[in-house]
Symmetry: C2
Subunit: 99 residues, 2 copies
DNA sequence: ATTACTTGTCCTATTTTGGTCAAATATAAG
DNA sequence: CTTATATTTGACCAAAATAGGACAAGTAAT
């Protein structure tokens, strides 16, 4: 599940048209369409508004949003998976903050 | 192991000073110092030169370089690990290219 | 025929990249 | 200690890339 797919799902489950949601987010509907199809990434600040509108957990939105950012960095890379693992090791290492 | 740590290691194992390596890469030594300490990321093109200079596998350098890029995206994020996993799923999914 | 959605082209303001240089610190040598 | 030599750090910068969008025209669905 990508951030775009989730936004689309939330919107449709609420029976809302793109035009409506776009208006609430103060963006054009063309842009929202691209967001829902993961061709553009929505502004991070707008996640808050979305989480309120659809009463969904902000943290879940943020995780998918961030995943999309990561994905954009590696999508054309043949060693993407290896790099992800290395990055994960580094994060884990620092997160254990051995004083 | 980060890309900076590896570059430093390769250089020291070859008994080379920062000044020398910096000259071969045509960058200042201040910049190289930052690269070795992961405060700056070296240009991707320069990885080729490094792999030739120290006779090391380019793919390994590239993986660490990419890992650093990813790391920079998520380093201050509390849900970094979750996002990494989501991104990995997306890559894996697309890599299986089910026609 | 409308309404809804998608897509392509274009734009500019902000951010990031890749770097310099000088000064500050370490380290080593005499 | 003193002095070279090596490395690190901070402040700054131009150029390149990206973010975040608008808008019009094209498709799809109703």
């Amino acid at each position: 599940m990508t951030i775009g797919q989730l936004i689309k799902q939330l919107r449709e489950n609420a029976g809302m048209k793109q035009r409506e949601l776009a208006a609430k987010l103060e963006i054009g509907e063309g842009f929202l369409s691209k967001v829902e199809n993961d061709q553009k990434l929505i502004k991070r600040d707008d996640l808050t508004k979305i989480s309120q509108l659809f009463n969904t957990k902000l943290s879940e939105l943020e995780t998918l949003w961030l995943a999309n950012k990561i994905y954009n960095v590696i999508k054309y890379e043949s060693n993407a998976i290896d790099a992800l693992h290395v990055a994960e090791e580094e994060i884990s290492y620092l997160t254990k903050q051995k004083k």
